[in-house]
């Protein structure tokens, strides 16, 4: 059984990416601090050892903002495969959260219902991955 899950977010600048990042801060700092690590994409791309170790040691949950799935493809580029890929847009839709009114080009507070809802789903997925591994 794996000890932790590597949360690997989309690195984009659009609002869906911001929701994903903020949700991952919630998961990593508040909801599942003992069982998650935060993978930094630019660092992984630059072969920073800690981030390379994360994807080699732990199952990867890629959290994407759009259909380009860049986080998943970045993990592929480094010779590993994400255990699971989820898209913020789909999680929000499943939770009945409308992202259309969120602002572009600024931070979105972790208290926002969209961030909270996405974070709760991701935390549950972390548990599923740990139980399955």
């Amino acid at each position: 059984m794996a000890e932790k899950v590597c949360l690997q977010p989309c690195l984009g600048l659009r609002k869906e990416a911001v929701v994903g990042r903020q949700a991952l801060y919630l998961v990593h700092e508040d909801l599942r601090p003992e069982t998650t690590v935060l993978g930094c994409g630019p660092a992984l791309n630059a072969n920073v050892q800690e981030d390379v170790d994360f994807i080699n040691m732990f199952p990867v949950l890629a959290v994407e903002a759009c259909e380009k799935d860049c986080a998943t493809r970045l993990v592929d580029k480094k010779g590993k495969a994400a255990s699971r890929t989820v898209r913020v847009t789909e999680l929000a839709e499943q939770e009945g959260v409308d992202l259309s009114g969120l602002p572009e080009g600024e931070n979105i507070p972790t208290e926002h219902p969209a961030v909270q809802a996405v974070a709760a789903r991701i935390a549950a997925m972390v548990d599923e991955l740990l139980n399955a591994a």
Binding site: C10, L11, G12, C40, A46, R73, L74
Partner: protein, 142 residues
């Protein structure tokens, strides 16, 4: 005027997630775009890292400015991967030291006025570089 607006700078912020500076760089990138909407093309590290054709083309087409948040200089690494020499590099620690800004106690999930001060200083420095690069490009065509 139309010719002036043809001059643009591609800005590549590292846009990481692990450290406080990740948030600072991301917020500054938004501010740079707000301050120079017609002159700046913001690049996504994620799309560039996986060779997204649209972002690779932008990075190759325009002078490139990289903004590195922390010591591994990951945005610069990406620029090297592209085989492109940046027109400007900005390192957040330099901006912090130049402006004597202390961001101790700030949280990466959301900045207070202290963190915003660094965001503003970083954006101001970046925009000055954008203006310089465009001036240099324009003069080279006259």
């Amino acid at each position: 005027m139309a010719e002036e607006q043809a001059f643009k700078v591609a800005v590549l912020p590292c846009n990481g997630i692990g450290r406080l500076v990740s948030t600072v760089v991301r917020q500054a990138a938004y501010k740079i775009k707000q301050m120079r909407p017609e002159q700046v093309e913001l690049l996504s590290c994620g799309r560039l890292a996986v060779g997204d054709p649209e972002h690779v083309e932008i990075a190759r087409k325009y002078p490139l400015m990289v903004i590195d948040g922390c010591r591994p200089h990951c945005a610069s690494f990406m620029c090297d991967e592209l085989g492109k020499t940046p027109a400007a590099r900005i390192y957040v620690a330099d901006v912090m030291a130049e402006n004597k800004i202390n961001v101790a106690g700030e949280k990466r999930r959301g900045l207070t006025a202290k963190g915003e001060k660094l965001v503003n200083a970083l954006a101001e420095k970046a925009v000055a570089e954008v203006d310089r690069i465009i001036a240099d490009e324009m003069l080279s065509t006259l």
